[in-house]
Symmetry: C2
Subunit: 242 residues, 2 copies
């Protein structure tokens, strides 16, 4: 099987764009894919990932929680931001969480364009996400990093390396250059808090007083919840627990 | 000063594209920026980097050598491919070398769109290129990796790490996430031949029997020649020895 790491999303119009042949693990460590998993851990029945705030707001109403960020902060009219710490303090039983974030949502949309199986992965669910990916894949697992506004994010490449390490322990792989780089980065840092804290994304969180989120995002395999793409509602991508 | 590593080129229409504020070191380790330097080492008066084969051919004639590749091999009508090994065996005194390659040329064009100073860097001229970059920069040095047909190339990220290491030894820097990743990759491999040999680009060279080029590209700071962007002739970018 092939193991591919894309350190940044590319859209289908980009030079050298390669569609996803099989399974895609979408990674936005700080914080969208981490927080998405926490909502499902805390009882949400489904996540709706929306490309823009207007689409998200249109889903608002009974049984729906609007969550997201622009410049790290909750958009107007949203009940929640994108904080895994705050999500972990809530209960979302019988509720749908509608999310719209800057990097993670658009990246998931690129994965869903061509991927047969799309999974939201983070450090928190890394082991479970890797296991699920192997279970459903027949030729390729791609790890697609969201990055930070079009720039490579250290924390996402690190998480990709952690996922690669789990996958290597479970099978035989042909690694692309991106996977080799991700593994190198993962092996450089024994403590996941270090790469996460040294990233530009961490700086941005610090600037708005949300640095406590980083420790939650740095927990490795503390959750067994794996959000899997199950379909669409309009332009929203629906994810549910596998 | 800021130190920025872009593991892949982005065009100005891409999400999150950031123009280059100051100096750009363009890296295409296997093989364009390596071979470009060798041509100047071997006496060429200038390099003309052309976006396509037709533009390159139009410069053909007395005192001009056409060099380049498509799928690693010399295009029709070109005297030379993109082999640093073969370039090193020739003399190009009083000649202009017109180059057109798949990744390096387009990447140099992106750098020249906004960069104030654009330099072609490789492992062979890493120390000289880093020194030159510091000499001409006032706020930012960006290392722009060409990659391999839109995918991250291990050998380019490694070379970026070598350049970062030289720069760190010569000044104080704010590192972006890309620079931190490149330094990690550089420190993982004591022998530069290892990352170069493990790359997808090396596989491609092996497939066409050009693997002997890899050792030439893996020589660290064996050359003091630094190709610097000096102007244009039509759509061709002209580089000369600094």
């Amino acid at each position: 099987m092939r193991l591919r790491v894309d350190a940044l999303p590319r859209s289908s119009s980009d030079v050298g764009y390669q569609p996803y042949a099989d399974t895609v693990l979408v990674v936005d460590t700080l914080r969208a894919t981490t927080t998405a998993g926490v909502f499902l851990e805390q009882g949400a029945t489904a996540l709706y990932l929306c490309p823009d705030l207007e689409t998200a707001r249109a889903f608002g109403g009974d049984g729906v929680v609007l969550s997201g960020e622009r410049n790290c902060l909750p958009p107007e009219g949203f009940q929640l931001g994108n904080s895994p710490l705050i999500a972990r303090e809530g209960r979302f039983d019988n509720q749908i969480v509608v999310m719209s974030t800057t990097n993670g949502t658009a990246t998931a949309a690129i994965a869903c364009e061509t991927g047969k199986n799309v999974i939201l992965a983070s450090l928190r669910n890394a082991h479970g996400a890797a296991r699920k990916a192997i279970e459903v894949s027949s030729e390729e697992i791609a790890i697609l990093c969201a990055g930070n506004n079009g720039r490579i994010a250290l924390e996402d490449v690190y998480t990709a390396g952690v996922l690669c390490e789990y996958l290597l322990a479970m099978g035989e792989w042909t690694l692309d250059d991106g996977a080799q780089i991700a593994l190198t980065v993962r092996r450089q840092f024994a403590d996941p808090l270090e790469p996460l804290s040294r990233s530009r994304s961490a700086e941005n969180l610090l600037a708005v007083g949300l640095e406590a989120d980083i420790a939650v995002c740095a927990e490795v395999s503390s959750s067994t919840i794996v959000p899997v793409f199950v379909g669409r509602s309009g332009t929203a991508l629906i994810f549910k627990t596998a």
